[in-house]
């Protein structure tokens, strides 16, 4: 884990730990590195840092490697870690806070497809009030320039009526869009709970 970059400059950020602690609302000080989280994690094989390592990195203020890690996007949100943690460290909340900070600070990490998926998913809610899988999938394909995967699956799903051509009918679009606007205002206003 690099404390210094190749030019000998320190890579830690003294405020990062407090920032994450406030944004996640979970007490990461309690972690005593028992590794229970990483042992039960189903997706460690695809991570660059293990969940317990990420906790330590945040404690040490290693902002840049933490926010650019693949781990924060590979985490599948299964909650096995937080359920089993003997010290009640809510690691999913930690992951959420790291993803949130990374996106707000415009940090493009290693797993762009996952972030693109979340953006497409939320765009669909903002647009239709509910998820419209077909337009969400098309948007994701354009965002990631991946046009050919799962085409056969998609056609089969259309034929079985599992993907709707038309978006859902939903009444209170203004209400839902207003929620997005208030959140955007909250973010640009720099407010935090």
């Amino acid at each position: 884990m690099p404390y210094f970059d190749k030019n000998g400059q320190t890579t830690y950020d003294a405020n990062f730990y407090q920032q994450v602690k406030a944004a996640s609302g979970t007490n990461i000080d309690r972690c005593y590195q028992c590794l229970t989280c990483s042992l039960g994690c189903p997706v460690t094989f695809a991570m660059d840092y293990l969940p317990n390592q990420l906790v330590r990195m945040v404690q040490l203020g290693l902002k840049q490697p933490t926010l650019t890690s693949a781990t924060i996007w590979i985490c599948a949100d299964c909650e096995a870690c937080a359920t089993r943690c003997p010290n009640d460290v809510e690691i999913l909340r930690l992951m959420d806070a790291l993803r949130e900070i990374a996106q707000q600070e415009g940090i493009r990490g290693k797993e762009k497809t996952v972030a693109a998926f979340h953006q497409a998913f939320l765009a669909s809610i903002k647009r239709w009030g509910r998820q419209h899988e077909l337009s969400m999938l098309l948007q994701l394909k354009f965002k990631t320039a991946d046009f050919f995967s799962d085409i056969a699956l998609g056609i089969k799903m259309l034929l079985k009526g599992k993907l709707k051509l038309l978006p859902p009918r939903f009444g209170d679009l203004r209400g839902v869009r207003a929620i997005f606007q208030r959140i955007e205002k909250r973010i640009t206003g720099g407010e935090r709970a």
Binding site: T113, D150, M157, L163, A193
Partner: protein, 283 residues
């Protein structure tokens, strides 16, 4: 027994058969479901991965609608379930945050009505004895592995009506319906559903582990209560065509066992057809 029914987005599209079977089974069992008027998407994992308050507001809007209707919510999708319960729980534990939520959704909300999953309602309120009386077509010798996944049981302080490591409600239910329930250790493993579209290879690997484990335990099919697990387990099974494992919703099998009609139209929507398996058991 009256609830505001929150189908969630998947049940309108990829999980049509889940929605149809939920409505048919509940109506037959006397659970009155009134669809929550103008419900919106709960935000799912994309909401909380992006902004904590966006997640609360998207879930909170629906909680406020149910409160207006004066009903607890009944939900079929565990992903919606965990989002609605999380916001409810956080607002209940931190009343000072309630005001913020009310401002964000632009609706009154007093954290009065809760959310329950339909598996919980059917197992704990209807109960196995009542169900047993209704069974006309026992799922005899159908070997199944009950798969709970993540959000029916985790995080336990928010959602669990069952044990977080070894849940048994669905096993008990399927046993009541006459199926041969296989014990296995994959019950609460994650199938990687949230990465099914963005990290296909991860989802494929987790699905392979789960389906192989179920097959080793002697199961001929997996039973789930989650539309995201269902579509992920169906879409990402890459094993040879011959031995793909059919995936059922628990409500479909209740419907079959209590003799509802139209069950075939649900099964025809599956990506992995269970019809041959059912036919080989005379079902």
């Amino acid at each position: 027994m009256k609830y505001a029914y929150y189908p969630g987005c998947s049940l309108e599209s990829t999980a049509r058969e889940y929605d149809l079977s939920v409505r048919a089974v509940c109506s037959s069992l006397g659970i009155e479901l009134t669809e929550l008027a103008d419900w919106s998407c709960c935000g799912a994992s994309s909401g909380h991965s992006t902004n904590r308050w966006l997640a609360h507001a998207l879930a909170g809007r629906n909680l406020a609608l149910a409160e207006r209707a004066g009903l607890d919510i009944a939900v079929a999708c565990p992903s919606c379930y965990v989002r609605l319960r999380t916001t409810y729980q956080e607002m209940k534990d931190n009343p000072q945050q309630q005001e913020e939520l009310v401002n964000l959704i632009g609706m009154p909300y007093e954290v009065k009505y809760s959310t329950r999953h339909l598996l919980d309602i059917i197992v704990n309120d209807i109960g196995p004895e009542e169900l047993k009386k209704r069974v006309v077509k026992p799922l005899k010798a159908l070997k199944v592995a009950c798969y709970y996944g993540c959000y029916l049981v985790r995080p336990p302080d928010v959602v669990a009506f069952d044990d977080p490591e070894n849940p048994e409600s669905m096993d008990m239910l399927l046993d009541t319906l006459g199926a041969e329930v296989r014990d296995w250790s994959g019950k609460v493993d994650c199938c990687g559903g949230s990465l099914s579209l963005s990290k296909r290879e991860i989802a494929c690997r987790l699905v392979a582990e789960i389906t192989e484990m179920a097959q080793r335990a002697g199961a001929q099919a997996i039973v789930t209560a989650c539309p995201l697990c269902h579509s992920n387990l169906e879409m990402r099974q890459t094993a040879g065509r011959q031995n793909k494992l059919p995936i059922f919703y628990f409500t479909e099998l209740i419907g079959l066992a209590i003799g509802l009609d139209k069950t075939r139209s649900w099964f025809k929507k599956h990506m992995i057809s269970p019809l041959n398996l059912l036919a080989s058991h005379g079902l």
